[in-house]
Symmetry: C2
Subunit: 304 residues, 2 copies
Amino acid sequence: MSLLIVGSLAFDSVSTPFKSVENALGGSATYISLSATYFTGPAYIVGVVGDDFPKKYIDLLESHNVNLSGVQIVEGGKTFRWAGKYHYDLNTRDTLLTELNVFETFNPEIPEKLRKSTYICLGNIDPTLQLKVLDRLENAQFVVCDTMNYWIEGKKEELLKVLKRSDVLIINDSEARLLSNEPNLIKSAKVIREMGAKILIIKKGEHGALLFMEDTVFSAPAYPLEMINDPTGAGDTFAGGFIGYLHKTQDLSPENIKRAVVYGSTMASFCVEQFSTEALVNLSFLRIQDRYREFMTISRFDDI
Amino acid sequence: MSLLIVGSLAFDSVSTPFKSVENALGGSATYISLSATYFTGPAYIVGVVGDDFPKKYIDLLESHNVNLSGVQIVEGGKTFRWAGKYHYDLNTRDTLLTELNVFETFNPEIPEKLRKSTYICLGNIDPTLQLKVLDRLENAQFVVCDTMNYWIEGKKEELLKVLKRSDVLIINDSEARLLSNEPNLIKSAKVIREMGAKILIIKKGEHGALLFMEDTVFSAPAYPLEMINDPTGAGDTFAGGFIGYLHKTQDLSPENIKRAVVYGSTMASFCVEQFSTEALVNLSFLRIQDRYREFMTISRFDDI
């Protein structure tokens, strides 16, 4: 009944109008697992790092109930590096550097004991690798998949195969428009669900998130933050809260999936308040629950 | 206890990727009053037209319980004309023509019997005219004010005077950012409320609306529309539903103002489904209530 997270572990260098950090702990698997383990644990990561990946980052993840036994350490290899610079409004960013390094030749091996994992989160990596992972799993019951513009444009065919084998696709609004070639988000959702995604979540940043499942449309609000410091990892953090809560509750009813969307939004709202993983390593479940209830307060209105 | 609406009556020519209309009934006062009168009536308009304004438009408005006794008809004058063209995604438009005509020299006279009006909706017109109207009112209890980029840039000082004398400002997100010079919408709302708007509503189109009042933030979802035909008048229609419902209920509690925001969103969602005022002239209160409840369904989630 374990939770498997496939994605990157990385060094992130992030610059915003307010602050800069160099070589911070980053990567999709990092954010997903740090977020998910507030709900459930352990979370098993499958990924790859170089031998430059410091012990302090390994210790940090392990202290959060993240199990790294599925992470390959390439001797003499260099860990994935990303650098980005956010603009004034924090909604747009320039990627300054993407060094795939050990990810360039990554072949995801799934250790024997993880092949029976039931809840799977496929972080934003090459869809070819996502497919390889799915091929090697023996008991996947609930698969959540993330992707990005780069793969939608460059590996659409492989991505569509991943979609058909996933239960949930989580993407942002611009990715949804790109994937569907349709500007209206609601029509876009229809097109994407016809591609195979049974459950679709479209993240809209400061405008909240939309869930499409069966005949249900659910609109989750965004948390009203006056200060966003660093949007890096918010999408992964959302995915982590979402799958972590569902793995904990083992309830895939529409009502519970709505709760999971709000938990995902809650976790993402903490993430962007601070730099890098700072917020995620210092949370408590009580604060998470309090903020979940604030989401209820801001979106409730009475019947007529 | 009457509801007074100040704004334009116009001929609109609208072109979208789907359809075009010429010289349709338009103008802020038109949309506001057609929307408000589903909740309350009569709605009294103060405005101006030329003698080219056709009897069929007067009949249409009057049949919807809109009272035009406060509308000046300028002999030999031409009615305000606007023409716009929407782009592929319907979120951006080019204004092709703005002929102020009789509005250029409009001096809003308020007939004696309307000076005691209690609920006032100041549609999007020159803030100098909005101030003149406020000066002539004797018993204004609840003032809702709309504006646009043009006045924020060109008549900010007068607009700030209007704000200080209004209870509610309704603007869209780009106008809020422009008025506050602040990209973060939540901080933007704080800045604008410090300018004097006690209650602030920020409309975000396909992303819903935000209400800021006392210590409350309320996030209303957007109705998930697969097909938007013509966004013209959506903002005015929102304002009409909002003030119409509040005028009917005479309850300015935060909980009722949230309901009014949802009714505003409901009316706007009907408006954009069809061209021009088509949707607004063919609604029923039952359909409005049904859609209000759909707004509840799409935004509800359970406690944990």
